[in-house]
């Protein structure tokens, strides 16, 4: 008998299946919702992100590229990695970026791994959404914005549209129907990488980005 059959047979032996009802997760979240408007929800997200060393800039559709470029100039960044065929990537590329070299993630990682690890200062990705409760940015990497863009460069720019902020993780996944099909990789990101493995002393910039910069894009005209 295979290991699989052996293990499953041992698990089938005790008759326990009928004893348990399905847990009422929906009921819990339905009774633990906050009565808040979008501004309050955005404020919660901001507070949670700022608590973990995240830099946040309020931007508009008109000025986000210039804000990004001024942040990049202030930090002395030399490169920014963008995806392929994304509207925001195209917008940035259309700008006069000066000393900042805009690179596109066009080739498979296998052909340029060393360059990505050693020769790219920053990456820009769009967030699919965010979770106000914990300050998590939701990323679904894919062909146009691959997984490593948000992980390997030392600084990660995230463009986040205010309208996509959810109250909590459960609301985000149910509102967007995640259970119908997940991408190969989905990530929640809250702050730059960190560790407290040496005597509980918090240090940022462990293996992933050392800095996380969120461009919070308001499309409702509240900033214009």
């Amino acid at each position: 008998m295979s290991a699989r059959e052996d293990i499953l047979n041992r698990l089938r032996k005790p008759n326990v299946a009928a004893q348990q009802l399905s847990p009422d997760v929906a009921g819990w979240y339905a009774t633990h919702q906050r009565d808040e408007d979008m501004a309050q929800r955005t404020a919660r997200l901001r507070a949670a992100l700022e608590a973990v060393h995240t830099e946040i800039h309020d931007v508009t559709p008109a000025n986000w590229t210039s804000v990004l470029l001024s942040v990049a100039a202030a930090k002395g960044l030399r490169q920014v990695l963008i995806g392929t065929n994304t509207p925001h990537g195209a917008e940035l590329q259309a700008c006069q970026t000066g000393a900042l070299q805009v690179m596109r993630y066009e080739q498979s990682i296998d052909s340029w791994r060393d360059l990505l690890f050693d020769g790219v200062d920053s990456g820009l990705t769009l967030a699919r959404g965010a979770v106000a409760e914990t300050g998590s940015l939701i990323l679904w990497p894919g062909p146009s914005e691959p997984r490593l863009m948000s992980l390997v460069p030392s600084l990660h720019f995230v463009l986040l549209d205010v309208a996509t902020i959810h109250s909590d993780f459960y609301s985000a996944m149910t509102a967007e129907g995640w259970s119908k099909g997940m991408p190969t990789n989905a990530v929640l990101i809250c702050g730059p990488s960190k560790t407290a493995d040496i005597q509980q002393t918090l240090a940022y910039g462990a293996h992933g980005p050392k800095e996380l910069v969120v461009l919070l894009r308001h499309t409702d005209g509240s900033l214009t």
Partner: protein, 477 residues
């Protein structure tokens, strides 16, 4: 990296505990770390009503998942297979290592980079790979430090919790080429970062654990702060995940409550920096991610716990470590004294299924049964009830229906069981009790002055000169 990690048998538990208790430096490290982690957790759960409600929900999700475990494992396997993930089943540690080794040999791997995985510690993964000439390199900062020191983790969440920064500074200066002594934690982390970035880029295989497997979507969830877990599961061309069979949940919606309980209970964070959800290898149109993803599902004694209605609750565990952070025993002796992969209260109740009760029973007795672990457990495992059950199992008569576990009856001695059966006779027969207590009180001068462990730090026990029944008789007169 060729240092062999010492495997301690739990039999030497007392001697190892004493060694730590005699080491004020180590005790200070643990006390400080436990106070820190307790305060962090407390700050997360300021609303008691919310905490208790969430714990009840978390426990119900875990109980439901276990009640349906065989079905969920099959559903998980089917969905992962559809997603392009290869699922393997391992009865024990040797099987799990053999599966990993076969994959490594097929893809001609020389180097494996590892994310934090307690199950890989459980099966002795690094040693098995090194024996086959394959480098297995730890990338979690704490695990890296512990590997560099040739030790095992002393805590399931914070592996290097037993070390001070001075000790780590010295370790780096001694073991990492080109590093001069520095106690600056940021500088030490940057040394680790620089060294390990090369390792990620060069590795053939990334190995990781799993926090939750989602059956309905075929998704592996991993939580972490450092980014090394994402590196290990994204950069190398092959990703192998290894986990216990109990880590599965049915629905994606079951993850948010458990995730919230896990990170808040473990390190007092509302969420970790990264929550990484992997549902398949790189697709044809994708530019990164591993080309192969494997999941090894490990039994290693878990089905023994599952078979028993009381012990099954052991498998509800989500490995947050809160029980050890709040345990008065763990806080004093630390993780290495236990001699098991999983220390603390959860270690005492899960290890007997992995290593046999004969090798691990002293752990069940090393508890005051104060119940702090029960109180903080985010999924409400009745840990102290299980400890008492294991104590009984350790004393059970072999070959009887009381002896249901591997290694049952290992603590049983002829002398002790004779004394207890006499005690039971005396206490269940009133005539006998009367007679025995008469002899005890009148013969109290014969009480031994050496009474084993009791008299090591206490005065000897001596029966009262008059029995209760004598006192009552006196009073009536």
């Amino acid at each position: 990296m060729s240092k062999v990690v010492q495997i301690h048998l739990a039999k030497d538990f007392k001697a190892r505990s004493k060694a730590v208790l005699d080491n004020p430096g180590q005790r200070k490290n643990f006390r400080g770390a436990m106070d820190f982690l307790q305060a962090k957790r407390r700050a997360q759960f300021t609303d008691q009503e919310e905490l208790q409600g969430l714990r009840e929900l978390g426990a119900s999700i875990r109980r439901y998942s276990l009640a349906n475990l065989p079905r969920l494992l099959e559903q998980l396997e089917a969905n992962l297979t559809t997603n392009g993930v290869k699922v393997h089943w391992a009865q024990n540690s040797a099987d799990a290592n053999e599966i990993a080794l076969q994959i490594a040999q097929r893809v001609q791997a020389k180097r494996i980079i590892k994310g934090k995985s307690m199950v890989s510690e459980e099966v002795g993964f690094n040693h098995a790979m090194e024996a086959a000439g394959i480098e297995a390199f730890e990338s979690d900062m704490g695990e890296y430090i512990v590997q560099l020191a040739g030790e095992a983790p002393s805590h399931i969440i914070m592996p290097a919790i037993h070390k001070t920064k001075q000790e780590i500074a010295q370790l780096f200066a001694d073991e990492v080429p080109g590093v001069t002594y520095t106690e600056d934690v940021d500088a030490l982390i940057q040394i680790g970062r620089r060294l390990l970035r090369r390792k990620f880029a060069e590795a053939d295989i990334g190995l990781s654990g799993v926090n939750f497997c989602v059956a309905e979507t075929g998704t592996l969830c991993l939580v972490e702060n450092e980014g090394n877990g994402r590196m290990c599961t994204t950069v190398p061309r092959v990703h192998i995940a290894i986990t216990g069979i109990e880590k599965v949940v049915e629905k994606l919606a079951h993850v948010p409550p458990l995730l919230s309980l896990l990170t808040r209970s473990a390190t007092g964070q509302s969420v970790t920096t990264y929550v990484n959800m992997i549902s398949g290898p790189r697709k044809a149109d994708e530019k990164d991610g591993p080309q192969e993803v494997h999941l090894i599902l490990l039994d290693n004694g878990r089905t023994q716990a599952y078979a028993d209605d009381e012990l099954r609750a052991t498998l509800q565990c989500i490995r947050c470590g809160a029980c050890m952070n709040h345990c008065p025993v763990y806080a004093r002796i630390g993780g290495h004294a236990y001699g098991t992969t999983y220390p603390g209260p959860i270690g005492a109740i899960i290890s007997p299924h992995m290593m046999g009760l004969d090798a691990t029973y002293p752990l069940a007795f090393a508890s005051t049964l104060c119940g702090a672990c029960n109180e903080v457990c985010p999924v409400k495992i009745p840990i102290t009830d299980i400890l008492v059950r294991l104590r009984n199992e350790a004393q059970a008569k072999p070959e009887t229906e009381d002896a249901t576990l591997r290694g049952s009856g290992a603590a049983r001695t002829v002398a002790a069981s004779t004394v207890w059966s006499m005690w039971s006779q005396v206490y269940s027969k009133s005539g006998l009790y009367k007679l025995a207590s008469w002899f005890m009180s009148r013969g109290r001068a014969l009480s031994p002055s050496e009474q084993g462990a009791w008299t090591r730090s206490r005065t000897p026990l001596v029966p009262a000169p008059k029995r209760l029944r004598d006192l009552m008789k006196d009073r009536k007169l």
